[in-house]
């Protein structure tokens, strides 16, 4: 048998084919994302769920109604596309004119709901879906074996991709679409009904995802979670290619698939992370992406008043003392284990709020700091035998370092791209945690000792532990409070208001953003380290993307850009998880629902809405109120 660089050629070509098939799905999904984004400026976080729904629907049609593959290939995209149209008509439409972030959050919430509900009904394990009889078998090409179904997927995806490209770039309909992207008012004046066009575009993009799902059903296992992980890779593809061009999405999709295939053949350990490494390199060398012509609107001003006012030192003192007093009294009536968990998440959410609320950089990857700090802290305490304070310090420093590196790369993009880049980096860290020798893989790092604080305070004593966690939480909270109020915090808020103006005043905005991101990462790491000591385990859940979603939920529910908001949001979400633990996957549905309600009706969060209500009651007394992030007027 011939070998190429020590790899048997049949294996190499097999992996390359597999890579191309994966690439076909990346291309189809990133294409749909690009079409939707181009038209509506929405990053469709539900794209993975819609792909999954296509596959699930095909599986359901076959198993419950006996309807086969070829009919499903038509029925599933049509039905999921119709659902997409309903989503646009009744939900997304309410968000136009607001910051693009809200569209992303809403679609994320919808994805959680779809995924949670389907897991609940059909279980989360993968289901097989048979290859249609017409495409069974395969042929021997001499140098490799080519299964017919894979050949069909490649051919079908090429037709779909090139067809979409042709419609958008070469037809009159496509010309209207592109014109409406540039100037919707003008196109509306020509007598074209732009809202309807937007609705149909979203429907078409969604249908495309569902069709990819049906094509994928016989290749991968059909499961409610099949879309989520794929979507993150697709985001990385989008960042690599640049969202600007349709052809760019197609080429990048196949290219990334090939690179993955090659890596699988030569260095399989790296195959799940290579996409993200490529993304990092592209961000370094060509931040706009391979096919992106320009960077996203970096300097757009936010017109409306936003952000919290700085409160007086006396108010802050009262706040901290009240908080401390209630935390000390709480264990008398509330289970201390719950309190400690809630405080840790409150610190995590406050750290996230530092960058998302005051720096307006909404990270979708903060789980990487919580998770990695937990692993390192746990390892330091368990294997190196460090005392808890040193272990926590090690974990926190690790998160800070990770924050510095990922932040340095991620701040090259802003807005929704920033969210996608951070999400992709976090996924890379997740895979590292899954595979690294010291993390314990699926089982997690168990049996982390609590140890003796400074060598003489026994943390296995519950009172000591409670006081320890309270001190860390309050310390972190006060630190964040001071940060927000400091000259640095003021500059950060100014930058988030108007980047170009801040630059023109002589501020190197990237330095400020990077430092803020690192500080946020370090504090998230402090929370993660403390969590490892308290729960005595560091696990994959803390590094998973759903954790990044949870911290977003806590912060937005409580009130982004307010000091107390993330704390209250964290307590509410943790309480909910405790009391609803028996509901299984329904918790994800409830999370998704809260996301949707927050985004649609409740954008200031609990604390923000309360402050607004208070201010309406006494119009002269109180200071300004944080308002929802408004659309950047630049685009």
């Amino acid at each position: 048998m011939t070998t190429i660089f020590g790899v048997p050629s049949a294996v190499l070509f097999g992996q390359l084919l597999l890579g191309l098939v994966n690439g076909a799905f990346y291309a189809m999904l990133s294409l749909g994302l690009a079409v939707i984004f181009g038209m509506m400026n929405i990053v469709n976080f539900a794209h993975g769920a819609q792909y999954m729904m296509g596959a699930m629907l095909a599986w359901l049609l076959f198993n419950f109604l006996g309807i086969g593959y070829w009919s499903a290939l038509v029925i599933a995209p049509l039905s999921v596309g119709l659902m997409g149209i309903a989503v646009e008509r009744f939900l997304l439409r309410r968000l136009y004119g607001l910051d693009h972030l809200y569209g992303m959050l809403l679609t994320f919430g919808l994805a959680l709901m779809a995924q949670g509900a389907l897991s609940n009904w059909f279980g989360s394990s993968g289901q097989p879906y048979a290859i249609p009889a017409e495409l069974a078998g395969g042929r021997n090409l001499g140098f490799m074996f080519l299964p017919n179904y894979r050949a069909w997927v490649l051919a079908a995806s090429l037709v779909v991709c090139l067809g979409t490209w042709y419609v958008v770039e070469r037809t009159r309909l496509g010309a209207y679409l592109r014109a409406a992207t540039e100037n919707p008012m003008l196109v509306q004046a020509f007598g074209i009904r732009v809202p309807r066009m937007i609705m149909l575009t979203y429907g078409a993009g969604v249908a495309l995802a569902a069709m990819a799902g049906v094509l994928a059903a016989p290749v991968y296992q059909v499961s409610p979670s099949m879309g989520a992980d794929l979507l993150i890779v697709v985001f990385a593809v989008v960042v690599i290619g640049g969202m600007g061009s349709i052809m760019g999405s197609i080429v990048t999709g196949f290219l990334v698939g090939l690179i993955e295939g090659l890596t699988k053949a030569f260095y399989p350990e790296l195959s799940s992370t290579v996409v993200f490494l490529v993304m990092a390199v592209v961000l370094m060398l060509r931040p706009a992406g391979l096919f992106g012509s320009r960077l996203d609107n970096a300097g757009g001003p936010h017109e409306a008043p936003a952000e919290a006012p700085s409160s007086s030192p006396r108010t802050q003192m009262v706040l901290v003392v009240t908080l401390a007093a209630s935390l000390i009294v709480a264990p008398l009536v509330i289970y201390p284990g719950f309190m400690m968990k809630a405080m840790i998440f409150a610190l995590f959410a406050s750290a996230f709020n530092l960058i998302a609320g005051y720096g307006r950089l909404v990270s979708f990857g903060h789980a990487m700091f919580l998770g990695s700090a937990g692993y390192v802290c746990g390892h330091a305490a368990k294997v190196w035998g460090l005392t808890p304070e040193l272990a926590i310090l090690t974990g926190t420093a690790t998160a800070a370092l990770l924050g510095l590196v990922s932040g340095w790369l991620a701040i090259r993009r802003s807005g929704i791209y920033f969210a996608m880049v951070t999400l992709a980096f976090a996924q890379m860290i997740y895979f590292v945690a899954l595979q690294a020798p010291f993390t314990g893989g699926e089982n997690g790092l168990q049996g982390v000792p609590r140890g003796m604080l400074f060598g003489w305070i026994d943390l296995s004593n519950p009172v000591n532990l409670y006081v320890f966690v309270t001190v860390i939480f309050l310390g972190g909270f006060v630190l964040i409070m001071r940060l927000v109020d400091s000259p640095f915090g003021r500059v950060l808020r100014a930058i988030s208001n108007h980047e170009a103006r801040a630059q023109s005043l002589g501020f190197e905005i990237d330095h400020y953003k990077c430092v803020a991101f690192t500080l946020s990462a370090a504090l998230a790491g402090l929370a993660g380290s403390t969590k490892a000591i308290v729960t005595q385990i560091a696990s994959l859940t803390d590094a998973h993307w759903s954790m990044s979603g949870e911290v977003l939920l806590m912060t937005f529910l409580g009130g982004v850009g307010t000091l107390l908001g993330p704390v209250i949001g964290a307590f509410v979400v943790v309480a909910m998880q405790n009391y609803l633990a028996g509901l299984g996957q329904w918790v994800a549905v409830i999370h998704g629902l809260i996301f949707a309600v927050c985004v649609l009706a409740f954008r200031r969060g609990i604390v923000g809405e309360a402050a607004a209500w208070w201010r309406r009651r006494k119009p002269h007394g109180a200071g300004p109120v944080p308002a929802p992030v408004q659309a950047a007027s630049g685009k």
Binding site: P301, A304, L479, L483, S486, P487, H498, S504, L505, G506
Partner: protein
């Protein structure tokens, strides 16, 4: 590069360009422009729409990178420097669409600029009020610009005219040596125009001012030198009366609806 610098080094000029060019997809927005900004003068760039004034302005303020050519500040090549570095050299710009930090109060807006110039912007844990008189200096500036009563207002809630005044106050808080103003009168009513003109008159003391402006009354009132641009190139340069009498300039402007 060294040869270029030798050739146009001239201490009378604060900013100079040498064959400055900017292309957009093959279209020359600014083409081989040799522009000189004399020290302590007020210099206006005018021209019909699409003449390249704003592109020239954005090149000088580092909002855009040139395709070709060089920019010199105080005899040094600054073509590759970025906007913050220019601000630190004392060259500060304003924006056409008034640029204030909408989510900060009026007082806080001015303080941000003062934090930078007093070098404490990187203090992570300090408080602003106790520091090196930033609060007091901001309050004094607001009084000078007639904004004192709005100190606690969110800048985003100010009227358009006041936003422009605030922007000027914030810019001057840095005590720039060169002030670059992008259409300072755009969108202002008559009363505000009078006020802002007076503020610029006051601000020009000891400074060099470059402005892009459409309002010819303001240009006539303020500018010592006027540069007329057409189709990316300099058509004429000189004092207002001389330029206004230039037949080429009249030809370029006739037939166009321009105020």
């Amino acid at each position: 590069m060294a040869e270029i610098a030798e050739h146009i080094k001239d201490p009378r000029f604060v900013l100079q360009t040498r064959n400055l060019t900017r292309q957009f997809d093959g279209f020359f927005a600014v083409k081989n422009v040799n522009f000189r900004l004399a020290r302590d003068s007020v210099h206006a760039v005018i021209g019909p729409n699409g003449a390249g004034k704003t592109t020239l302005f954005n090149l000088l303020t580092k909002h855009l990178a040139p395709t070709d050519g060089a920019i010199l500040h105080e005899g040094e090549d600054v073509t590759r420097l970025k906007m913050p570095a220019m601000a630190k050299r004392g060259v500060v710009r304003s924006f056409q669409i008034s640029a204030v930090f909408a989510g900060l109060t009026v007082q806080e807006n001015v303080e941000v600029a003062l934090l930078r110039s007093s070098g404490i912007a990187w203090s992570v844990l300090g408080r602003i009020s106790k520091r090196s008189g930033v609060t007091e200096r901001a309050a004094a500036l607001l009084r000078r610009f007639g904004l004192a009563e709005h100190a606690a207002t969110m800048a985003g809630n100010l009227s358009y005219g006041r936003k422009r005044v605030l922007e000027l106050a914030t810019t001057l808080a840095l005590e720039p040596k060169v002030l670059l103003l992008d259409e300072p009168m755009a969108g202002l009513g008559r009363e505000d125009i009078g006020r802002v003109t007076a503020l610029i008159q006051e601000a020009r003391q000891g400074r060099t001012v470059l402005l892009v402006e459409h309002n010819m009354n303001v240009v006539a009132q303020l500018a010592d030198t006027i540069t007329v641009m057409v189709r990316g190139e300099i058509l004429a340069e000189g004092p207002y009366d001389e330029v206004a009498a230039n037949p080429d300039v009249i030809a370029a402007y006739t037939g166009r609806a321009h105020g």
